[in-house]
Symmetry: C2
Subunit: 213 residues, 2 copies
């Protein structure tokens, strides 16, 4: 808890990316990683890296870098991913299906324990590791399967209604793949995913090259 | 070009989010939007909003806010999305299929003009608005369809190989949905999408509530 008092949100977002990079360096056999390497991987300055990591105490040694072995568990603890989380996919269309087969979730400690839909032709089938249940079963199964996160992949028109159902069922957070802006109580967190943002970032970066910026 | 000299990358990322929020405010009938509203939508301080937008000149008026009508075209111009971009989906599996049906791309000026796969059962079928072509046809169709971005949704094992093919075919950027880290020349930009990052952010936010942080 004391770890995170007054830490800027952008720093927190970067911690996930630092962790990815450090894990990737570890896979390549590195023992230490420099702020320059981390900064270059994220497209930021090494001063910013040192400032970000400085919030959490002194890991780095000048001229040597950050210890990979020390950093990985520390970052996971700060990000609260030193534990597993249970999530369910709601809406087994194209995106839901892709997420039910997404290999990285399990690797990162996210267990997809449930899948829900309204279509009779889909209910009862197995997608990924989940047998698809009825949306009406969310309240019962949320408790039974200890679902903490709902991954919302339903059509926009029913997004709010299904989000309400998830909240009532006791989930703590919603990963929102719909374009609907969700109204939830203050106790629930929502993170929205919008693929067009990634394309916008690409458009900017590509133009930057051309402009010589 | 002068717009963007020495503008921090995180600021640029936030511009897309400001634009989303301002468009959403406009849809709700707003004429101006305050830095407080923008900050609150993004979970950052209003001082940070003013600093970010300050890079691009003075739009805001104290006590009145930013003009919605002025901001939208200006942000689009800075982000280089005041034009259309052509993109192709490579790999028509679950994620590829989801992206070929993703309604927001067109709305944001990204035209999905091509789809490519290796499976005979998929080639020749229509997914979204695209007839799926063979991966070997990328060089020819990239020129013919003026494909600028490749959206890479192939299995990890062939990701680099297909990325090389896209680069040779002349695309300017790759949106990478695979877990493979791509090696491309300095003239090509890559933006990677990792769904587990979004879940990590949710895990952090949810824990923050509990910790009272």
């Amino acid at each position: 808890m004391s770890d995170r008092t007054s830490i800027p949100r952008p720093t927190i977002k970067r911690l996930s990316l630092y962790l990815r990079e450090i894990e990737s360096q570890e896979a390549g056999g590195a023992v230490t990683v420099s702020s320059r390497t981390l900064g270059s991987a994220l497209g930021i300055t090494d001063a910013q890296v040192r400032r970000d990591l400085g919030y959490f105490g002194q890991f780095g040694q000048p001229g040597i870098g950050y210890s990979v072995k020390a950093m990985i568990p520390r970052l996971k603890s700060i990000l609260r991913i030193d534990r597993e989380w249970n999530a369910a996919v709601v809406g087994v269309g194209n995106i839901g299906r892709a997420l039910l087969h997404y290999p990285r979730f399990t690797a990162k400690g996210f267990n997809i324990v449930g899948a829900f839909d309204v279509e009779d032709s889909i209910i009862g089938t197995t997608v990924g590791n989940c047998r698809v249940a009825r949306i009406e079963d969310i309240p019962r199964l949320a408790v039974e399967l200890e679902i903490e996160f709902g991954i919302l992949c339903v059509p926009k028109q029913v997004a709010q209604e299904v989000a309400d159902l998830l909240v009532t069922a006791g989930v703590r957070g919603i990963l929102n793949f719909t374009p609907q802006r969700l109204e939830v109580g203050p106790a629930i967190d929502v993170v929205s995913v919008d693929f067009s943002l990634a394309l916008e970032q690409l458009a900017y970066q590509v133009s930057e090259e051309v402009d010589g910026g």
